[in-house]
Subunit: 149 residues, 4 copies
Amino acid sequence: MEDRTHREQASPETRKRIQDSFARQGLMSHLGARITHIAQGRVHIVLPARPEVTQQHGYFHAGATSAIADTAGGYAGFTLFPEDTEVLTVEYKINLLAPALGDHLEAVGTVLKSGRTLTVCQLEVFAAQDGGRKLIANGQQTLICVSRP
Amino acid sequence: MEDRTHREQASPETRKRIQDSFARQGLMSHLGARITHIAQGRVHIVLPARPEVTQQHGYFHAGATSAIADTAGGYAGFTLFPEDTEVLTVEYKINLLAPALGDHLEAVGTVLKSGRTLTVCQLEVFAAQDGGRKLIANGQQTLICVSRP
Amino acid sequence: MEDRTHREQASPETRKRIQDSFARQGLMSHLGARITHIAQGRVHIVLPARPEVTQQHGYFHAGATSAIADTAGGYAGFTLFPEDTEVLTVEYKINLLAPALGDHLEAVGTVLKSGRTLTVCQLEVFAAQDGGRKLIANGQQTLICVSRP
Amino acid sequence: MEDRTHREQASPETRKRIQDSFARQGLMSHLGARITHIAQGRVHIVLPARPEVTQQHGYFHAGATSAIADTAGGYAGFTLFPEDTEVLTVEYKINLLAPALGDHLEAVGTVLKSGRTLTVCQLEVFAAQDGGRKLIANGQQTLICVSRP
């Protein structure tokens, strides 16, 4: 899987377009999230553990988990969009499968179906700890491609 | 509606239990969110606009919108739970209906169906600007009541 | 609520357009469902109880519940669409809140947000028995408006 | 995939328990659906095309698509439940990815996360035509395990 991931890296133009957009997201830098991989139709975002992203029991807050999942899916769709378009999230649904405890979270957004107007992505979030990796959230997202104003 | 809201305020014990739990959520204070109303089965959370909660176009990030919606729903359910229990989000789904632009967001979580194990909430997020208030996100959430360890 | 419902009846043209489309849905007549009310932005569908729509315990099957909910929402959106367009369901999410037991189900689809391309509806399903009426399912649906080929 | 599927067939007891339950679902036989495979944590249901399961354009109705998806997921979860329990659908979300056109539909429900109380499944529906097979719907479902009364 990892090998396939690295072979599939998106073009430098696509990666730059997404990194530039990501850098303008105040929330992502405020949370401490960063993009770690941009493939055609798949984007990975990592969020390190720190007190600023916790819920009341010290785990990652579902809101932080969802924020990186939604963003990973949005940019995964965006890798396949034409120039001069923007991506908006129409809706998403996420199941929190297990307590989000670990050194960091990794959200993976993957395009399931790419259309001219609508794109559907799978959202997965893994918690990484001591070399292990566990699926802690799974979701599904609908994106819309809109012309840039 | 507003009058009804204020008449319905939860008991001091319930409000304290929820304010204490909320204060332990690192993410909520990091985002600048605060609870503004706690009724039986309904909780309101306000998030002021600032660069730290934006997406790439300067609107509120869907992740911030979702984080306060999920939290409002979770505590709305929690107002109806017995002592010595905790609330966990099983899953939620949210539609982003309009660009989230305004002075602040207000998330309202309302219990639709309260059960012994599972509780279902409606999630609404409004953007407030210049005295107006617009529904910008709508969702549905499933919570589980678990015994405190 | 009932009074408001009846005052709000859609135009004869809209009602005819929807009744004609509904009549072409093989599944709805096979299940025994019928449209009972068409307002601007809201449609009601009734499904009488019979063995052909049950799950293993004799309740209404979640698939039957969902089928009328999805259809009620789709036509609710369709009441607001321009001529020469069609409605497609993009996605929906539904919570089954209580056992679906009764003489008949009534699904109510209501437009929450109507846009040029996408429309979001609330879905509610009630079970009616002995004069009472209970919410047994609640959902949310995204529709797309497409030009007729 | 197919090979793995066939190796993984559930025990005769589990398969009998599920076939017996399925046979009591009035809706499934009324639609003409049948279970074609029961593995541990995965169930396949096939629905042949016929006028009784169509929407207004002659495609499979989203309600029929959802009904077999929900049922496949429910029984997939049920294969992993202890004796003397029942399965109920808490909620599900489904995206209709493409027009559901073909000789038959095949719904595949697969357990993603199995817990003592809650189980989360992935739902996929494929349309089969002329030897080809296309993903036309994708969803996610939450089930609850309840003691038999």
